[in-house]
């Protein structure tokens, strides 16, 4: 029985390898045709489009099932992104802001020695890689957390809490200066009801009975509607990404689109 199962698995594995090789073969054949027919330019641009198309298809192959081609593309993506960020940060931040000013100042200018302090704290961060000495990096993190909190908390409270409260507490104007009914007042009313109901839903000091129960149920409805709106926007966003890729594959790669 066990031998039969393992034989079946081996068969499945073989068929998957055959499918994989066949798909790669089709991709190669399509590209040969595209280059031969002049649908892809025979230069680096054409090569770039071909690689981008291959990697896009490799990533979408995950929709069928997990496979080595998908993993290969995924690792390339992560490696490229990290490599790009490191190099870009080195040339745009580390080199001009620290190394050049400290070690290679322009002729006639002095080295900015105070930069030794951030350099020192920066080097301490690398102690994270040693489990034994990781505690040293906490000095740098303490600096970052202290600075970050000091900067973010007052401004965050002012902008995200006080400003929002102020907008909610503004008097509702049902009629404009010409005496016409102001329909946005209804939206403001709904927002106020929603805020109060959701706050009551998250108020756990009293048991949700009677009017509190009704209000908290209304709060749940508001939360559900908010989740629905967020999900709808998320679907739209994900579809946009797919559409852009499909347009690239049909247009830039296969060249079957008119515009």
């Amino acid at each position: 029985m066990a031998a039969e199962v393992s034989e079946k698995k081996l068969e499945e594995k073989k068929s998957r390898v055959v499918i994989l090789v066949a798909l790669v073969g089709i991709f190669v054949a399509v590209n040969i045709y595209l280059f031969a027919a002049g649908r892809l330019p025979s230069n680096f641009e054409g090569l770039g489009i071909m690689i981008a198309a291959g990697l896009s298809l490799a990533i979408y192959s995950f929709l069928y099932r997990d496979n080595p081609i998908y993993k290969f593309a995924e690792h390339i993506y992560i490696g490229l992104s990290v490599g790009y960020i490191i190099v870009y940060n080195y040339y745009n931040a580390l080199k001009p802001n620290l190394l050049d000013k400290l070690f290679f100042p322009p002729p006639g200018e002095r080295a900015e020695l105070w930069l030794i302090v951030p350099l020192f704290f920066g080097i301490l961060m690398f102690f994270r890689f040693s489990p034994k000495h990781a505690w040293v990096s906490r000095w740098s993190f303490a600096f970052i957390v202290g600075y970050g909190s000091g900067m973010a908390i007052p401004r965050g409270v002012k902008t995200m809490i006080f400003a929002q409260m102020e907008a909610t507490l503004r008097p509702i104007e049902f009629f404009d200066m010409y005496g016409n009914f102001n329909f946005t007042a209804i939206a403001t009313l709904i927002a106020i009801v929603g805020i109060l109901a959701v706050l009551i839903y998250f108020f756990f000091s009293l048991e949700h009975k009677g009017p509190l129960k009704v209000a908290s149920r209304v709060g749940v409805w508001f939360i559900m509607i908010a989740f629905g709106a967020q999900f709808g926007y998320t679907v739209m966003a994900r579809m946009s990404l797919l559409i852009e890729r499909i347009r690239f594959l049909l247009g830039d790669w296969l060249n079957v689109l008119r515009s």
């Binding site: 870009y88 579809m239 852009e244």
Partner: protein, 278 residues
């Protein structure tokens, strides 16, 4: 097995295929749909229109290629609008991976409207630090960006000299197009509330609901959300492009999803009632 039971156990790959078909067909046959303009997008357009020719606009492009589908068309449409109005543009990034995209958008729009780098627009490039960069620009823009993305000293560029730009207070309008952190939030918290410029935003669809409260409170003067927002702006500018073209496949794919949501729920209700009867 009844039809609803089959529907409940449908292989999700059939749904993927149907969505792919719903996108591919309208893309190939170029089905066009009417784009209605929403109030938050119109407000961005009106704000840009209200500026006098020669005014300076700062466009912060805080996204990477993963958000290109939604945010690149926004950047391009906004740039086209600014250049058509003869506004001076400063462009920058708070995300390193977006620099190439902004350069591409700038060169495309500048070529169309015959605008010169240095005198009509300046690409400041990327600076790490997010909120710190914004605060730095608010205190001393030239100190934060001593050179532009092409390593030319910023103080010597005609646009900066002519307009006498020293801090964010010298810029009447900031357009923050962002896909995450740092992005629109940082511009609201560390920029708008501190330095008082007018701020409008463009964001991915996923994030749009997070930013609507800023519209209500007046912290954002306008908002473009996702591909729809970009398509609306393209329509307002009168230059339908990528976002407008992609709206019909978007609508068809949504129809498929809505159909599956309705069918799925009907199947669930029917199956539940069957189980109860049993």
């Amino acid at each position: 097995m009844g039809i609803f039971e089959k529907l409940m156990k449908i292989d999700r790959r059939y749904i993927f295929v149907m969505i792919a078909v719903a996108i591919i067909l309208p893309t190939i046959y170029e089905v066009r749909m009417k784009i209605d303009i929403s109030e938050p997008v119109k407000r961005i357009y009106d704000r840009v229109e209200s500026l006098k020719p020669g005014s300076v606009v700062l466009i912060s492009n805080d996204y990477d290629p993963a958000a290109k589908a939604e945010l690149y068309p926004m950047t391009l449409a906004v740039l086209r609008h600014c250049f058509r109005k003869n506004l001076k543009v400063l462009a920058m990034n708070l995300w390193p991976q977006g620099a190439g995209l902004v350069r591409m958008a700038l060169s495309t729009a500048a070529k169309e409207y015959k605008k010169e780098n240095g005198s009509d627009y300046v690409f400041l490039g990327y600076k790490p630090g997010g909120a710190v960069v914004i605060i730095g620009m608010g205190q001393n823009l030239l100190g934060t960006f001593p050179k532009d993305a092409d390593s030319k000293p910023l103080a010597e560029l005609p646009l900066i000299k002519e307009k006498g730009i020293k801090t964010l207070k010298d810029i009447p309008l900031v357009i923050a197009i962002g896909a995450g952190v740092p992005g629109i939030d940082a511009w609201v918290v560390y920029g708008k509330d501190q330095y008082g410029f007018s701020l409008v935003g463009g964001c991915t669809g996923v994030m749009a609901t997070d930013y609507y409260p800023y519209l209500n409170s007046g912290q954002l003067s306008g908002l473009m959300g996702g591909l729809k927002g970009a398509a609306e702006y393209e329509t307002l500018v009168g230059r339908p492009d990528e976002a407008t073209r992609n709206m019909s496949p978007q609508s068809f794919s949504h129809l498929v999803i809505i159909a599956f949501v309705i069918l799925g729920n009907i199947a669930l209700i029917v199956e539940k009632s069957k189980k109860k009867r049993r």
